[in-house]
């Protein structure tokens, strides 16, 4: 038999195990919340069982050993021998964490077990042992002094197709004790009738030694239901347990392997794992297609003969097809935000216990889809916001009672579409921002000299300042002074923005607005000194022609112009990016009013060229980050145009103002 490189399956194992852990966690939390759905414990058991089996197959012995103990405990609960209580849930939740860490370590190729996992394993084992002593005493007694086991194993013909390998199982048995096997060839057909993928051989196996029944059963867990299996205790001097007892455990675990298959073909998980590289390649190709199409469109604009009517119609079709193809391909990358939201029930539960606050978590819009790359990066900022909301936002139970509110605070996490963006809101019904504390802290930190004349928005802005924190005592939850500025920077890096709305006594709402995707943007193309730049359409407020007279020069070389009832700074692209030979007179060019990070400014360019979709390409892939530039794209003529980073320019502008 050819040797199979198991490493290629490791990735899939880790992915599946993590999904299993997430399912376990969700089910445990539901149990913790008082749900008595019997299916929950089965879900937890199945997940633990799959992880154990996979870990054993792939040689992650530490993980297998740990999950085995957890599974034993779960088995007791499942079979009704143990009632699930808060302590058990707590222990199992901690096990989920430990297994997650162990899997990470296994993936990194370091030994998975550490002091923590060992300690927890002992705790679990102690729990299991206790229960066994109490309720399963006779069984244990029977197991003592076993001479060995006779096992009749007759695989059904399709066993091999389920991916099970009798040899591997026999090796496992051989590791338990001295082992003999006799193959039964009675079912073997003639060579002509033989199907190479079917199992025909049966075995009579003999295992010598004092081996617990559970260990023997564990070996056959995966083939339960796919074979005829009879395990009989090997008679020593006296017949020990009545033979009736033997099939019972096998019958007691009938839904375990079936459940495993259910998980594998779970209709909810109608998803396939596709390598991101493949998708990226596909996106690249579609990007090229878009470019080709715009090339053709330009050609059609240039030639105006009547015979070209059909050609134009074809082009229109091509344009539509391209767009549709692009949308469906982009869809592959879109994942529901529940991937990120799923971690919050646990986080909120742990935090509220730690802080002794009552919090009910309200998750909404979990099916809202986000680009995978956005999704991966939005998790940490959201965790920050949720921690802050529970730590700082929500008041203690006593304070809430005094304020006449419900003792249980509500934390709402909601995702929805608005325009071409995804909005994620983190809202609490706590006390709102403490204006006095924020202003006081800002003065103490030297960010302000006095709080006079500050609008509520200005005060809210303060908490985004680096190193700002109002927590009186630094807890390990929040208040380390890093946080809100990092949240804002991370969100900005994704091309999004963070806004804050706070009502004293009513609560605080953080609103994160994110682009649907990072891969394609709608942009306005503008030329400066013969160079082409792309300004993302989402940041544009308006384009205006400004008369030279309405521009005020201020000390330090800055220019301001009047837009509606505000004075906005002018940023000349030619100065920001060092383009030689651009138009100097404000009246000769055009000003694009853009908004980023809650501030507006006017971008001065020579002229506007038009609007187009831009497939965003990374500059960093082969070069490095360039400040003021968020990426590049390829124009219809195959040349490269740079995409202006509005938020970056706004930051540069405010730095200049500070300097």
């Amino acid at each position: 038999m050819a040797k199979v490189d198991l490493a290629q399956f490791h990735r899939a194992f880790f992915d599946e195990s993590n999904e299993g852990l997430a399912a376990m966690e969700a089910a445990l939390l539901a149990l913790d919340a008082g749900s008595d759905d019997g299916e929950l414990i089965h879900t937890i058991f199945r997940a633990a069982h799959s992880i154990k089996g996979g870990a054993a197959t792939f040689g992650f012995a530490d993980v297998a050993a740990f999950t085995h103990v957890a599974e034993s405990l779960l088995e007791e609960v499942r079979s009704g021998r143990r009632a699930i209580d808060a302590a058990t849930v707590e222990l199992l939740l901690r096990s989920v964490d430990v297994v997650r860490v162990m899997l990470e370590r296994s993936a990194a190729g370091v030994p998975a077990a550490d002091a923590e996992s060992e300690a927890l394993r002992s705790a679990l084992a102690a729990m299991v042992g206790g229960a066994v002593a109490a309720t399963a005493g006779p069984a244990k007694a029977a197991a003592a002094g076993v001479a060995g086991w006779d096992i009749a194993f007759r695989p059904f013909d399709y066993l091999l197709k389920t991916g099970n390998e009798p040899l591997r199982m026999f090796r496992e048995l051989a590791a338990l004790g001295s082992f003999e096997s006799v193959a039964g060839l009675d079912a073997l057909p003639t060579l002509a009738a033989m199907d190479a993928e079917s199992a025909y051989v049966s075995w009579q196996l003999t295992l010598h030694g004092d081996i617990p029944r559970a260990k023997v059963d564990a070996v056959f867990d995966w083939v339960d239901g796919d074979c005829e299996l009879t395990v009989t205790e090997r008679k020593n001097e006296l017949p020990a347990a009545p033979p009736v007892a033997q099939p019972a455990p096998a019958a007691g675990t009938p839904d375990a392997p079936r459940a495993v298959r259910e998980v594998a073909s779970n209709p909810d998980a109608q998803s396939i794992r596709v390598g991101t590289e493949k998708i990226d390649l596909l996106i690249n190709m579609v990007g090229e297609l878009v470019i080709t199409q715009s090339m053709l469109s330009q050609f059609a604009d240039g030639v105006d003969a009547s015979g070209l009517e059909q050609f134009r119609a074809g082009l229109a079709m091509l344009a539509r097809n391209t767009r549709e193809l692009q949308e469906s391909v982009m869809g592959i990358r879109m994942l529901p935000i529940s991937h990120v939201f799923n971690r919050f029930p646990r986080l909120v539960r742990d935090l509220s216990q730690k802080l002794d606050k009552k919090v009910s978590l309200d998750l909404r819009g979990e099916t809202t889809e986000l680009d995978k790359s956005v999704l991966e990066k939005i998790g940490d900022p959201l965790v920050h916001l949720v921690r802050n909301a529970i730590d700082h936002g929500l008041e203690s139970t006593t304070r809430r009672r005094e304020a006449g509110k419900n003792e249980t605070g509500t934390l709402r996490l909601e995702a929805f579409h608005r325009g071409g963006s995804i909005v994620v809101e983190v809202a609490d019904d706590g006390a709102g921002l403490n204006r006095a504390a924020i202003v006081g802290k800002a003065i103490e930190r030297g960010l302000l000299t006095s709080g006079e004349g500050l609008s509520d928005d200005d005060v809210s802005e303060l908490i985004f300042a680096p190193g700002f924190s109002t927590a009186a005592a630094t807890t390990d939850l929040s208040g380390r002074g890093v946080g809100m500025d990092v949240v804002r920077r991370n969100v900005n890096d994704l091309g999004g923005s963070v806004a804050i709305r706070s009502v004293a006594g009513k609560g605080t709402t953080f609103t994160i607005t994110l682009p649907l995707t990072l891969a394609i943007i709608d942009g306005l193309t503008a030329s400066v000194a013969g160079e082409t730049y792309i300004v993302p359409l989402v940041s544009i407020v308006e384009s205006v022609q400004v008369q030279a007279e309405s521009v005020k020069s201020v000390a330090g070389g800055g220019e301001l112009f009047r837009f509606r009832d505000a004075w906005l700074p002018i940023v000349r692209i030619s100065d920001a990016f060092g383009c030689a030979g651009a138009r100097r007179g404000i009246g000769e060019g055009i000003v694009i009013v853009v908004e980023g990070e809650g501030a507006r400014l006017g971008l001065f360019v020579d002229e506007l060229i038009g609007q187009q979709q831009a497939v965003v390409k990374s500059l960093e892939a082969n070069y490095r980050r360039v400040s003021g530039i968020s990426g590049a794209t390829i124009l219809a003529d195959g040349s490269v145009a740079l995409i202006v980073d509005i938020a970056g320019l706004v930051r540069q502008q405010s730095r200049r103002k500070a300097a």
Binding site: A621, Y623, A632, I634, V640, A641, R655, K657, A658
Partner: protein, 168 residues
Amino acid sequence: MNDAANQAMDATQYLTVNLANEEYGVDILAVREIRGWTPVTRIPQAPSYVLGVLNLRGAIVPVLDLRLRFGLVREEYTATTVTVIVTVAGKNFGVVVDAVSDVVDVDAAAIRPVPDMGTAVDTEYLKGLTSVGERMVLLLDVDRLLQPQDAQMLEAALPALADVKAVA
């Protein structure tokens, strides 16, 4: 027989390019493709020798002018001016040279250290020099061409600057 085999093992192929009447060798394993000169898109805040970026089948690839990198005068781009696309540590970049000329086998033993003077080029970017017949070939250390310390320092400084967000 054995000696010949050993020699073949030690020999590395180099693509030789012409630059200001001197011949330079680029490890052929680093060369991804050779293209005719096409105009590039300038990028802001780049060192003077980085001409800009070009579209290499959908990837954005920076292009540097080897003459400017070595502090030489840039001449007009002609019909023979080429951009050699090289791959170093997974990153691609283009190197503009006057012309490509040859592929030569260079025995590792025949590579001599570069003397500190005598060439117009900063020796920092050279791995060594060797002779091919009567010609002298300077072997380029492509890994170092697009890793200017100044760019790294600038990048290191950027996040710090971003932190200094003023509160009005």
